[in-house]
Chain length 390, copies 2
């Protein structure tokens, strides 16, 4: 168990009808607001008007940047950073899902430097020393960007999709209103659940000595996602289901569950190479990869973690042989992703071609070894890709 620092000073307004606090929170940071959002769904659900109204009532000056795409692009980030400079923005208000939030974080950082924001991601790995303050209103439970200090940005020119963390990027305040996710589609709800499950599994599957209380918490989060996602799919406006999924999305990745573990993620870096080329939804890519990765990493040493997972999360009979419990736990997880959530099961179904396996695998491990639950080299990752073909 390693020493760690816990430091998550995000203030969260959770529940319905909390937007009345939006103006007072933004005004703490100044008067000029850059409002960022995606493709306009916030207008369809009436959220845009509510936000504009709150900002007007608070006497704030608002600038807008819209059309932030899923798998957000560096072009949006560049545009937003420039707007912050041009208009001397005091605070950014991101309204949307993880893509809008992630892009906004790097606009806030880009506003504070003279160089191209892509330098935060390319080989220059420019330091992130400061960022303008960020407030968020979440409309999709998935990435946890509302309570973490990271983001992932794509560059279509270089076919790169790269994540970066910096404490300066942590939102100051996030508004989490489960009713704002009522209109999220079946597909996006399912992909969000797969994304959350993966965030937890990347930390949970670890052979280091754990803080048992955090393992219990992770199991509770996974049971929550498994219990409430089908309810949300069936009844999109079930408040209890949407609320549990929304709060679980934040806690799956805000850093609390990491505790004393040294971390190295596996499925996320692999998936980023898929969506860098194919632009598929991140959660869908994770759903396809994760059970195959689990299967590939299962052996006599790692089996105990699968047994813990299978018995505590799926309630598999603990008296069965370990290897049987482990395999059953992978079957149950696959069943959740592909039957309960209805996500596509294989690469061919989403159009991913075997000819791209070598280059995606090489980029995922940066030509060497991807550390993680089990270290994976290019051959290992290609084998996992082949397992995704059927």
């Amino acid at each position: 168990m390693h020493p760690f620092v816990y430091d998550i000073p995000v203030k969260v307004y959770f529940g319905e009808n909390q937007l009345g606090h939006l103006g007072e929170e933004l005004k703490k940071f100044g008067t000029k607001v850059l409002l960022t959002y995606g493709g306009g769904s916030i207008k369809r659900i009436g959220l845009y008007d509510r936000v504009i109204n709150e900002l007007a009532q608070a006497g704030l000056e608002v600038f807008e940047l819209s059309d932030i795409a899923p798998n957000p692009r560096i072009d949006s980030v560049r545009r937003g950073a420039q707007m912050c400079k041009d208009h001397q923005i005091d605070v950014l208000l991101a309204v949307g899902g993880g893509s809008t939030l992630d892009a906004t974080k790097f606009m806030a950082a880009g506003a504070c430097v003279d160089h191209d924001p892509w330098d935060f991601f390319n080989e220059k790995w420019a330091p992130i020393r400061e960022a303008l303050p960020i407030v968020t209103i979440l409309t999709l439970s998935a990435t946890g960007s509302e309570m973490d200090c990271g983001g992932v940005i794509s560059n279509l020119q270089t076919k790169d999709k790269i994540g970066r963390l910096a404490p300066q990027l942590l939102p100051k305040v996030s508004f989490l209103d489960p009713t704002l996710t009522y209109s999220v589609s079946r597909f996006q709800t399912a992909c969000g659940a797969a994304d959350m499950m993966s965030h937890i599994l990347e930390v949970y599957f670890n052979m280091e000595q754990d803080l048992y209380m955090l393992d219990c918490f992770m199991e509770g989060l996974m049971k929550t996602i498994i219990k409430f996602t089908p309810i949300a799919l069936e009844s999109p406006d079930n408040y209890e289901a949407r609320a549990n999924l929304m709060w679980a999305s934040s806690w799956a990745i805000n850093g609390f569950i990491n505790g004393g573990k040294q971390q190295a993620w596996s499925c996320h870096p692999i998936e980023h190479e898929l969506s860098a080329i194919y632009d598929i939804t991140h959660g869908l890519g994770l759903a396809i990869i994760t059970p195959r990765w689990m299967e590939y990493c299962l052996n006599d040493t790692t089996v105990r973690k699968y047994v813990q997972f299978g018995t505590n999360v799926f309630g598999i009979d603990a008296s069965l042989p370990d290897m049987e419990i482990a395999k059953e736990s992978i079957r149950r997880l696959s069943d959740f992703f592909f039957n309960t959530l209805g996500l596509q099961r294989t690469f061919p179904e989403v159009g991913i071609q075997a000819s791209d396996f070598p280059v995606m695998a090489r980029k995922a491990c940066r030509g060497a070894v991807l550390p993680g639950f089990q270290p994976l080299n290019q051959q290992d990752i290609e084998e996992i890709f082949r397992m995704c073909q059927e």
Copy 2:
């Protein structure tokens, strides 16, 4: 499910050998430090010297206030508040358990007002609008004061023991090093565990619709305490056990588990009346009261919460009749408190006399009704006291 605000901006250094960060954290707030501690156990374990050394290396000016007693007294608070004023203290450093931390919080608040600090607790209920910054080094896992914004202060003159919450009292930084709890006695370790269990049960036993994920987390915390306290009693220097108990103590009461519940505690206000008169250890009083309170509140309406508790925390067979599961869950909890932890089981064993029942019961419900899992009037509380006699 009610809307809520989550706002716990405490930075925590968790684990061994993190005190090297003490100076840098304190210096953020100024140069004059009031170091507070209790009866000298921090000198016995060498912690005092380590702290003084870190403060000296950081070039900080240190003033000391020691001898803060268990069930901390308003006299210590008055003394500390005056010292802050006399020496223009910038930041308070509390080193110890919940008593030292609680007293220090109200010194920090008392330093910012002209009136007697007892006015925060008596009928004046003076507002807490500001407080000097507080940093803590925890040496006892129990009250959670290191990550919450409350404290409880006793007044021996008036025989009052009163708690108060205010966001201004939240520590800025807390150092949680499990090795600093190795020397905690069997009895104090056991009382700490009972205190934590009670913090969770006060929130868990609630008939409102819950956030399921928080119920899972509470069950995980309780399983953690039940699993690791016996290990810590057996092997006081077991790092894994002490670490799990330490982090659990913070999360049992920092506010996260409250989620969307309207809360009203039962056992804590009742226990405060015991220790106001008898000065017994808070956790011990809670251990005696809690199982009787559970028994008293059990009925056909409340039984479902007991079933959830018994099956998820103690693994009681879910196919048994509900009332049987409920009673067995109370038996298991009693067994944990009185056999596993070895705490005294009855009022006569700790010297609490029946002649004090009426006055303690009346004060606990303030002469009316104590709201909570089940509302309790004076007669109800006296009946719970009578159940504690054997």
